[in-house]
Subunit: 177 residues, 2 copies
């Protein structure tokens, strides 16, 4: 058995808790003195409460804001804005993963971005293969690709059993945002 | 549609992420300025990283340590120690839920405690019915009782698809503890 090994962790499924559990995992690691970087692949997927909370946790738990200025970029490149944002997020992910600055990198909603063909699954698999040995890498988002699941050490499916929308309850502060 | 309503949320299933997602949900709510109380029903279920992280978040995010001194109590009462600890945790839960001091209360591993007959499902259902209207209540643990799921607004099953133990990888700092 190996003593110290960075894991590839996937949170997938149609239920809630994929990003939230990654965030909680980051909080646990942060409590252990680790350094955590979050890259968001889908703009606006993260909510005010999370961003504020993580800002308060200081320099060891960071969200790298992606896609800033991408509208201008999109016009220049004639690429759909969301494709360019995903491309920028992927480049940021590569950079941060290889930087050695982090003990855990969370690629939030990358599975969804792969499913939408905004990110290539082959490139992602290559990135997984190149990750530093001790780095924990967390990939969230529904419909995780089989190629990603094959290479993961820990995969959890968050499955929706019941959702308050079904009962006509509005999105609640602190829960949905 | 009601504007502000406290939800009953259940994280169940055999996979990882039930407690971690509750913790992340607490972090999101904390970022929104809410006050969060965590009661742990199974001693030792929470790990060093989580406890340290939450201690750093200050007075609005608190874990109430349960079962302190319960060994002495168990001897006096001739009750198995774990039953007494669960009883104390349940009393603490009632107290904190009714106190009005919190916007979110997390009853960690209560489903497991109910499954082990350490906590009564009838009492828990009564507690759900008595909760303040605006309080968010989160119940974690595998094998959630049908009576609890019936009364919940949001239920997610965390399902294990793949676990690193299967590949002979040891528990990793920041992930498992």
């Amino acid at each position: 058995m190996q003593e110290r090994q960075g894991l590839i962790i996937v949170h997938t499924g149609n239920g809630k808790g994929k990003t939230t559990a990654a965030l909680g995992m980051g909080l646990r690691a942060w409590g252990q003195g680790m350094r955590i970087m979050v890259i968001q692949f889908i703009k606006g997927g993260w909510k005010y409460g999370e961003l504020t909370a993580i800002e308060k946790l200081g320099p060891n738990y960071v969200i790298r804001p992606m896609g800033e200025g991408f509208v201008k970029g999109a016009a220049e490149n004639e690429l759909p804005a969301h494709q360019l944002a995903a491309r920028e997020a992927f480049q940021a992910a590569e950079e941060e993963i290889k930087s050695g600055n982090w003990d855990m990198v969370i690629l939030d909603e990358i599975n969804y971005a792969i499913g939408m063909k905004l990110v290539s699954v082959e490139e992602t698999v290559r990135l997984l293969e190149q990750k530093p040995e001790e780095l924990h890498l967390v990939l969230t988002g529904r419909n995780a690709a089989a190629e990603i699941i094959d290479r993961a050490d820990l995969v959890t499916e968050m499955k929706e059993i019941k959702h308050p929308y079904q009962a006509g309850i509005k999105a609640q502060k602190g829960i949905e945002f």
